[in-house]
Symmetry: D2
Subunit: 135 residues, 4 copies
């Protein structure tokens, strides 16, 4: 298992007229969570892309337990529970300032070759960097 | 069962550098789908809100089958398969111009009283307008 | 002078916790205004792009006279007051349902070649389609 | 004069299919710039709002000098050149990783009372915290 925490300050741009973060904006938090989790491993998503690998989202499931509110400093806890193969699954918990879990997300991405748009397997660099966490 | 179709033109604002609609932007399409489905029934979400009822999203599941692309005129097909009680579940299919389903969403919303933030049941106006479709 | 009107329904996604459209979201309205103004002329922005011409925004000035509110059906009035040369300037007025101007925008775009990223002049197809309006 | 610098990592959500930050997304950067500039002074925008003062944007002028690109760590330099009275003007420069200015923004906000929606003057707390910088 590999886990990494990032932070995100809720902005006015994110909030709707109920005073809650708009439900579509959690996708950005998951993006931040998984890109920073990979960067912390030594894998920069931009480099994967420059190397011809894209990682489009295939499935996303979100549970809205409590609303995120304006100016809160959220914690995005992103966890990989299994070694990726043809898919990579990021498990995300969003916590508010009192460390209460307010949102849960489960995001499945696939790997495709940018040129052919064909499905491929997880790049070796990710496997290599993750392997110490899955012994 | 009650079903309604809306249209949405994909804008530059929606598209990422893969040339695909960013995965977080489908939430807006689902919103359009359900608000227009209700409006077509004779229920304006704004009126519900002005009457003290909020409908925050509780759960959202999305399957990304194929990407939406710039300038496509999408069809958002929104279906209610069950009479709402404490929850209302909108089943959304997004179709491209060749009428192929490219995305599936399942969105569960709850009803809360704006003043107390307490969970409540589905407003009678929605039940009344939906009942002809669930005989 | 050439002018064209489009409509836009304000969505929950657009509104902030003051109950106003978030100030950054008017850019999307301007985009809709100018793309539909061009489409009405017979010029599809997607075709320009497929033909190797990009039109990035160079300058944007916005005046927020009154807020747009949730569920309003806005009118986006987009006007070209001068024949484009190396720049194209779209003058946008956003009107609410009572036809009051609530927002003014002035957006300058340039033409660049997608391959070389070099500045170029306005594509002949735009000049040709606009010329009847500038006699 | 008072100036403050914040950072922003460009996300996939921000980028369009030219590979440039979508022109409407700079508004979020300006928001971050001014809110963090105020926080650094000891003024939290949330507290102003909780105290009944809203600061809607009245005018925004943006110059797009060069595109921001995916995964760049931008610097948002936000400057107040004059003491606010009925308006407050934030001058924003966005710099890329090589410290080149790629965007300039000038944003004017007004102060209104949340209850009456009437224009009011700059809250004393802002004047007090800014005064050491305008001697």
């Amino acid at each position: 298992m590999y886990s990494f925490e990032s932070n995100y300050r809720v902005r006015y741009a994110d909030i709707d007229q109920m005073g809650f973060m708009y439900y579509g904006n959690y996708a950005k938090l998951f993006e931040i969570g998984r890109v920073e989790a990979l960067r912390n491993l030594g894998v920069r998503y931009k480099d994967l892309e420059d190397g011809g690998i894209w990682m489009p989202v295939y499935e996303n499931n979100s549970k809205y337990l409590e609303p995120a509110k304006y100016d809160e400093l959220l914690t995005i806890k992103c966890t990989l529970k299994e070694m990726p193969r043809v898919r990579i699954v990021f498990d995300t918990e969003v916590l508010n300032e009192s460390k209460k879990i307010i949102h849960k997300g489960l995001t499945t991405l696939v790997f495709i070759k940018a040129d052919s748009k064909q499905i491929t397997t997880c790049p070796p660099i990710i496997i290599e960097k993750l392997s110490p966490f899955f012994k």
